[in-house]
Subunit: 339 residues, 2 copies
């Protein structure tokens, strides 16, 4: 991307759970923003959102929304991405798309800046932001993969409701209130009541028995790590918490695990924070991690039987590192022409 | 045990979360109870609990509590079991102990009636009830193990707070109320706030990096299945729900999985209910399972890469099948002289 003092940024889906985090992340990381254009569906037009102390009115997302835009951050769902990304590219913008629309498309880089920043170079106008659960897992396990290649990942997730959007978050809060005030909680956004419950991830079950969320983890991991032979066995589960996804991960590595080497690379890894206090029983957990940029890693331990197996527990803010922050980091790579 | 018309039953820890379920389970299953003696610590003396429409006053648990008792159900914590079990045995009772005090003791059978009922025969006065998470897992996987022996179990749990006792359950409810009414939730029973959070199980971390709950699953599984070579790799996690434990399980079997055979044995297995509706995205979850006797199994699916690996998601009421029901079922084995 041509080096500039400032970049004109559009956010498609600016009023959504991730869109709002994108605005704040651009501000907090002091990204060199020229114009910030906030785009959403017609029903959000007129709303105002704040950026660096100034109110910006939301405009309707149309084919003509992208004139003079350098970077368009999309987080308005896959259908909107498919409908409007071409228009943004045609207008000269680079699209960083948070939806799943283009993630597996040939020629579209799928990028976690801590893992495969070099992939950004190969973009043809669109760069895809991976699935949140995949990002958080790969930030944590890639440093280990680099010193002892991963053969297989078995992972079970504990996913916050805000990963399903602002309305799902509101539904959890309403149900918590219903519960406390003695009313029967009702499910409207999710298929099942979420308060006092956990359930298999709310995405469609595929022919192979995995749900879409799980299959994203399988396919995206292979693409991002550039190795189709890596096996991924995920189980994705929704839990009744507001924010930050947790993952119980078992890694089967090529060689026996050298735990001092693992600790060293995790300590040095960008975006990773070790939280592994066995004495105080303090490991990564959503209440500590919500609002943070880093992916927290703990419960790092040897398998009881297999020398090449390592277990850990990982937690990251899925709206930030799992979405908005990762997208802004990709924009930073473009702006710095690093990749 | 000598066959009788009715059996005099003592419950040590009658006022606790599990004790109360024991009383109700004896009633619901119409166990042939003669006298029901309710025992607890001095501070509960004077409380009355109902059994078959009659109020029974709680007595203090002492060395002299067990005269004329046939079966003593213990659920008052490991220390109480160690202090009073011998007295019960000396008085002629068979102890069914829900604590971890004797589970790994040689000569003490560790019994899940659906899995190893025959082990009851070998008791010398004490029979141990396994850990709740272990019981629920084994009821679900043993039918598969019998047709295709398990080499390895990788399991991540989603454990309800009532597994930590009645006060932990009260703490969750208080924190839910605090949250809804705008106060800062405070942790008193657990080390961390549980509402809007998940955290690594609240038991002590051992030298090997596993916590006690996890290590119970490892050791008890080997003892119950009678095979020290079975590998178990557990991660135990607390989630902010009231009741019923869930487990994401991956099984590495000896032979390639025959899924029609697996479905058949699960359908026929005692205590197992298949809940596996891919169309409606309806799988085992705590809200459906709390209060039920069965262990629910779903998300049964093939691994994407390995023919001998099967994944499933399991949910069971840890106060019932994980504790009170399992203990009463052991009492039924004794009464029926089945084992």
């Amino acid at each position: 991307m041509q080096k500039k003092q400032n970049y004109n940024i559009a956010i498609a889906g600016a009023t959504g759970a991730v869109g709002i985090e994108m605005i704040q992340t651009l501000e907090k990381r002091n990204f060199p923003v020229g114009e910030l254009r906030l785009l959403a569906s017609a029903r959000s037009v007129g709303k105002e959102l704040e950026f660096k102390g100034k109110k910006i009115a939301v405009q309707e997302l149309t084919q003509d929304s992208f004139k003079d835009i350098d970077i368009a951050l999309f987080s308005a769902g896959g259908d909107r991405s498919k409908e409007f990304a071409d228009a943004a590219v045609a207008a000269g913008a680079v699209v960083i798309d948070n939806s799943s629309a283009f993630r597996m498309t040939d020629g579209v880089p799928l990028v976690v800046p801590e893992v495969n920043p070099e992939a950004v170079k190969n973009h043809k106008g669109i760069i895809a932001n991976p699935n949140c659960t995949t990002i958080i897992m790969l930030v944590a396990v890639n440093p280990i993969h680099k010193i002892n290649p991963i053969k297989r990942i078995t992972v079970s997730s504990y996913q916050a409701v805000s990963g399903a959007g602002a309305m799902a978050l509101e539904e959890l809060r309403t149900q918590q209130k219903d519960l406390v005030e003695g009313r029967q909680p009702k499910a409207e956004i999710f298929s099942h009541v979420i308060v006092n419950n956990v359930f298999s991830h709310d995405s469609k079950i595929l022919e192979n028995g995995f749900n879409q969320e799980e299959y994203k983890m399988v396919q995206e991991t292979k693409k991002i790590l550039g190795d189709q032979s890596i096996e991924v066995a995920p189980t994705c589960v929704r839990v009744p918490i507001e924010r930050a996804h947790s993952e119980s991960i078992s890694l089967e590595l090529t060689q026996p695990v050298d735990f001092s080497a693992v600790t060293k690379v995790l300590n040095e890894a960008p975006g990773v924070k070790i939280m592994d206090d066995r004495q105080e029983n303090h490991f990564p957990m959503p209440l500590d991690v919500a609002g943070k940029y880093e992916t927290f890693v703990g419960r790092v331990r040897a398998d009881l039987d297999r020398a090449n197996v390592l277990h850990c527990f990982v937690c990251g803010d899925q709206l930030l590192k799992g979405a908005a922050l990762n997208a802004v980091q990709i924009a930073e790579l473009l702006a710095n022409d690093v990749a």
